[in-house]
């Protein structure tokens, strides 16, 4: 439906792959005001359809690909798009966000979102050219890896003059085709990795979507936005995290800090330190392997690395891959990690879930539960194992199920490191218990970002006591709501790093930083007031450029308080949606290794006091004792319960 707001293209297309019908899906300005875009817009669309009886691999499921109003608006780091669907890995709704160029070109094709339903009889790829949908056979592409698929698609997009028509793509690799439960969707070099969105696309027999067009992405107050963006870019480039650490070392730069703080997941999360951490550190990556820094389209931070693997320049690993395929399996061979990272992207498989499933299997073998031939620190055959997973051959067919299902079959649930069936990220939560809470309650399962990323307060940005439960639940809620809205608006979560005042980051040992670290755990009450009544903050914060930027792009009023309320709405909407599929307090769980066993025998607090944290968190959220949003809360947030 057409829109009065800037930033939106005013059109959502619904494509039925079975019948090949294409129609416009009504999404009104009222809905835009409430559900913004990105994962929240997708949750609203899914919420209007899902009853709770649907299965991930069925025609009743749908894949909703959304952009946000900021996507392609010129705002920093705004090329993001989101894919939401019913996850085959968790059985709940997942949202997977990606910085590739597909979202940008989807908007240039005149669309805010795509809803894909049904399945194709034969492998198919879709061309979306200025809003027109064309179905193409993909027999030739089926079986191809993601790099070759994207090159082949570019061939198809060649113009008579030999140039390739500018386009943005998403595609799956062999893992998606074979419905590996944690298969990813790839766009350029970037990946929508989590929750098995690639498996759903593979079940649909949809190999790729290619979008192109020349529509202008409108900005309501262009001149003001240009001036604001100039300031915003400068701010990001001066900030110690977004202007120095991330450009200098990428996300891999956190390895050394994580080692110091006991956060470096080692040997399937049994420890938080790795003796050979320097060999897999961001510093070593930068010095010895980084060819060039790279960034997503529209991003001034440029945290991505380009490295050389077998003579080819390819994307370097992110922190998660580096840690989970490094210390996670007791491997200090960085070159091997670079190669696996490339191979997993080529196969179209989530590096986090894959690595954790392998480390679970290694431990199960070590403990005599499952004779599978995998051993910690023995890495020679792992490339072959990954190929087998993607093609579901031999042991790969089992590993393709993920750690939860394997632990149910072979035992060892206490060391199958997942939440709601999705494997955890690289941060060992026993030395960051706020993040432990986040992992457990996160809507899409074991995710550090959806979980609120409290670890930035607990050691990686500030140094708040990492094992106290004081204040953590309220801060987790605050961060979750904030990041939910940044994501919904179409921007990268790394832009939120600038929310932390620069002096606190650049002077960690100053008296004022120490004071903040000491006081913050006791500010839970004040944070709760802000969480409960965000409208009191009817202002624009000088360190948070997002709200003014949002206003200039869309023309909607968006002071900080309303921004936070929109984030809260998004978080609760996904929770309500997952309730229909059986989520309750019992599902907000972590493996016993993290809740019952201390990481450091000298520190009795070095485990996640999950039940205590959950209790405070539910109360802060206004949920009932069973961890579900009350009717009153849903009503207040304009969320329809089913």
């Amino acid at each position: 439906m057409a829109t009065e707001y800037g930033g939106y293209m005013g059109k959502v297309l619904r494509i039925n792959l079975t019948t090949r019908e294409v129609d416009e899906y009504p999404f009104s300005d009222r809905e835009r005001e409430l559900f913004i875009g990105g994962k929240t817009m997708a949750a609203k669309i899914l919420s209007d359809h899902f009853k709770g009886t649907e299965q991930p691999f069925s025609d009743e499921n749908m894949m909703v690909i959304t952009t946000g109003p900021m996507t392609g608006s010129g705002a920093p780091s705004s090329s993001r798009f989101n894919i939401s669907t019913l996850s085959p890995l968790t059985g709940y709704v997942t949202s997977s966000n990606c910085g590739g160029n597909f979202g940008y070109y989807l908007k240039k094709a005149g669309l805010d979102a795509l809803i894909v339903q049904g399945h194709c009889e034969k492998p198919t790829w879709l061309e979306i050219n200025s809003g027109k949908v064309i179905f193409h056979e993909a027999d030739d592409f089926w079986g191809m890896k993601t790099g070759a698929t994207q090159e082949a698609l570019d061939e198809k997009m060649k113009l008579p003059n030999g140039r390739v028509r500018k386009n943005g793509k998403i595609c799956i690799g062999p893992a998606g085709e074979n419905q590996v439960l944690y298969a990813s969707v790839v766009s350029n070099e970037r990946v929508a990795g989590r929750g098995g969105v690639g498996a759903v696309m593979g079940w649909m027999r949809l190999k790729a979507i290619c979008a192109s067009g020349n529509k202008e992405i409108s900005v309501k107050e262009k001149e003001k936005m240009v001036a604001h963006t100039q300031k915003w870019f400068k701010y990001l480039r001066k900030h110690p995290l977004t202007g120095e650490q991330l450009p200098k070392l990428g996300t891999a730069g956190l390895v050394s800090s994580m080692q110091m703080k006991g956060l470096l997941s080692t040997k399937n999360y049994s420890e938080g330190h790795f003796d050979d951490f320097e060999l897999i550190s961001g510093e070593r990556l930068a010095e010895q392997y980084n060819i060039v820094n790279k960034g997503c389209l529209t991003c001034p931070i440029r945290c991505s690395r380009t490295v050389e693997v077998e003579g080819k320049a390819v994307k370097g690993p992110e922190l998660e891959t580096l840690v989970l395929l490094g210390s996670g399996i007791c491997n200090n061979n960085l070159e091997a990690v670079l190669r696996w990272n490339y191979e997993l992207d080529e196969l179209g498989m989530d590096t986090i879930s894959c690595a954790n499933t392998i480390s679970y299997a290694m431990e199960a073998n070590e403990k005599g539960l499952w004779d599978n031939g995998l051993h910690f620190s023995e890495i020679d055959d792992l490339s072959a194992v990954m190929e087998k997973i993607a093609h579901k051959e031999g042991i790969g067919a089992e590993l393709a199920l993920g750690s939860k299902r394997l632990s149910e079959k072979y035992g060892g649930t206490e060391f199958a490191i997942h939440a709601k069936g999705m494997e955890l990220a690289a941060y060992e939560p026993r030395k960051a218990v706020g993040l432990g809470l986040g992992y457990a309650v996160s809507n899409r399962g074991g995710c550090h970002l959806n979980g609120g990323y409290a670890v930035i307060l607990e050691g990686l940005g500030l140094s708040v006591n990492p094992t106290t439960y004081h204040g953590k639940a309220d801060m987790t809620m605050l961060m979750q709501n904030l990041m939910e809205m940044i994501s919904a608006s179409g921007q990268c979560l790394f832009t939120s790093y600038a929310f932390f005042p620069a002096p606190l980051m650049s002077h960690p040992n100053s008296w004022y930083t120490k004071l903040v670290n000491a006081v913050l755990p006791y500010c839970g009450g004040a944070v709760r007031i802000l969480n409960k009544f965000p409208e009191i903050a009817a202002i624009h914060l000088p360190v948070f450029h997002h709200t003014k930027g949002f206003e200039y792009v869309t023309g909607m009023k968006m002071p900080f308080g309303r921004y936070m309320r929109c984030g809260e709405r998004g978080y609760n909407l996904e929770r309500e949606l997952n309730r229909r599929f059986g989520v309750d307090a019992t599902k907000d769980a972590l493996p016993k290794r993290l809740t019952d066993v201390v990481q450091d025998p000298k520190d009795p607090n070095s485990k996640v006091p999950l039940e205590k944290l959950k209790q405070v968190y539910y109360h802060a959220r206004g949920w009932d004792d069973n961890g579900l949003p009350t009717k009153k809360l849903l009503q207040k947030l304009n969320i329809e319960a089913k």
Partner: protein
């Protein structure tokens, strides 16, 4: 007429440009490129006219730049 067009070309303000690459992506004939060095303590990003001969001087890059770091000038 072609000669006239060829006389125009983009000048990138290196102090302002943040290397977001929107101009590179939107150049119709791919004559802009991003020079992305390893991090050396200062980010001097970093778009440059890689193929001045091919440049049409169409001005799309200047129009699309979100921070107006590009101006079109006549040779």
């Amino acid at each position: 007429m072609t000669e006239e067009k060829k006389k125009k070309y983009p000048v990138i303000d290196a102090k302002t440009c943040a290397g977001c690459s929107v101009c590179v992506e939107n150049c119709p004939i791919n004559c802009l490129a991003i020079e992305a060095p390893k991090y050396h303590g200062d980010i001097t990003t970093i778009v440059y006219l890689a193929n001045p001969e091919a440049c049409l001087g169409c001005g799309i890059c200047a129009k699309i730049c979100p921070i107006r770091a590009i101006t079109i000038v006549e040779a």
